[in-house]
């Protein structure tokens, strides 16, 4: 009788079996998505009113960033595999896949830092690219170089901070996983972490398209 009552209660719940923690993360994702929406729409409006805008690949390294996109897709796969492992009670699998996700995130950040260092440090090649893009006289690519620079750094930096937050978040859950905190019955926090990490990947897909390819 009680079991039937519970089943009816679950069916009538508009959120189904989603836990409050999971709903909290979905709410955060909605709000954070709006923040990114604001930045991307603002960037698009600035682009529409800018006198010039570099063509895709004229200044930004598309093959390198495409690799970064592929890397983030791979980390989404390892993250979902971490959840898949712990759902089956495989704690070693959870630790292994979480560590792989964290390493992927760190590599993504490393490539982004290298890209920034290349732009800020300047080089003959960059000066030529800047000149071809219409920024004559500029030797480095900074947020103050042009409105394109401001949009590029604001968007990628905001996303990069999310990746950094995600890496810190993963490291905390990874430490707990190593201690055996999670099991087949108790893995809600792993699922919530997964939602955040996939959101970071999802946003990058849009950032890559809007900033690098269009």
């Amino acid at each position: 009788m009680n079991q039937t009552a519970d089943t009816i209660a679950v069916r009538r719940d508009p959120f189904g079996t989603a836990t409050t923690g999971k709903l909290g993360m979905w709410l955060f994702i909605i709000m954070d998505g709006l923040s990114f929406g604001g930045i991307l729409i603002g960037g698009a409006a600035l682009r529409a009113s800018a006198p010039s805008w570099p063509a895709p690949g004229e200044m930004l390294n598309i093959p390198l960033t495409a690799f970064n996109t592929f890397l983030l897709i791979c980390t989404s796969f390892t993250m979902v595999m971490a959840l898949n492992s712990i759902q089956k009670g495989d704690q070693k699998g959870l630790v292994k896949f979480l560590a792989a996700t964290m390493l992927g995130g760190l590599l993504f950040l490393g490539i982004q830092v290298w890209e920034y260092a290349h732009f800020i440090g300047g080089s003959q090649e960059l000066t030529a690219s800047l000149e071809a893009a219409g920024f004559v006289g500029a030797t480095s690519f900074l947020p103050s170089t042009s409105i394109f620079g401001a949009v590029f750094y604001a968007t990628t930096c905001f996303h990069g901070l999310h990746v950094l937050s995600g890496v810190i978040y993963i490291s905390v859950i990874l430490l707990q996983a190593r201690k055996g905190t999670y099991s087949a019955e108790n893995h809600d926090r792993v699922e919530i972490l997964g939602l955040f990490w996939h959101f970071v990947d999802l946003i990058w897909i849009f950032v890559f398209t809007v900033i690098y390819l269009i």
């Binding site: 719940d13 508009p14 959120f15 189904g16 989603a18 709903l23 979905w26 994702i29 909605i30 998505g33 709006l34 929406g37 604001g38 729409i41 603002g42 698009a44 409006a45 600035l46 529409a48 009113s49 800018a50 006198p51 010039s52 895709p56 690949g57 598309i62 093959p63 495409a66 996109t69 592929f70 897709i73 791979c74 989404s76 796969f77 993250m79 979902v80 595999m81 898949n84 759902q87 089956k88 219409g134 920024f135 042009s146 409105i147 997964g194 939602l195 996939h198 959101f199 990947d201 999802l202 897909i205 849009f206 890559f208 398209t209 809007v210 390819l213 269009i214």
Partner: protein, 93 residues
């Protein structure tokens, strides 16, 4: 959503990688810029849907929650409509 979905996750990752490679091909296509933009945005939306539905398990959530996640879209469109008024303003590099 409990159970082993390893095969689905692998297929999804491969699909996402293929779509990314196709995107790189689109920017080289000799077609008008507007057509490129439409194609690239369509591919981006497809990839986002794949991540949300498969990796974020949105397809296993209730209809109510899925619809709730669409709430920001009209808000974003409202913002886009709002900034259109600023477009005649010209930035100087």
């Amino acid at each position: 959503m409990e159970g082993d979905h390893k095969k689905t996750y692998i297929i999804n990752a491969v699909l996402l990688a293929i779509l990314t490679v196709v995107e790189l091909g689109i920017i080289e296509l000799p077609i008008p810029k507007s057509a490129q933009v439409v194609l690239l945005l369509a591919f981006a939306v497809t990839k986002i849907m794949l991540v949300a539905l498969v990796y974020m398990h949105l397809r296993y959530e209730t209809k109510f929650l899925r619809r709730l996640l669409l709430v920001p879209i009209p808000l974003a469109l409202f913002l886009a409509w709002g900034v259109i008024y600023d477009l005649p303003f010209r930035w100087v590099n």
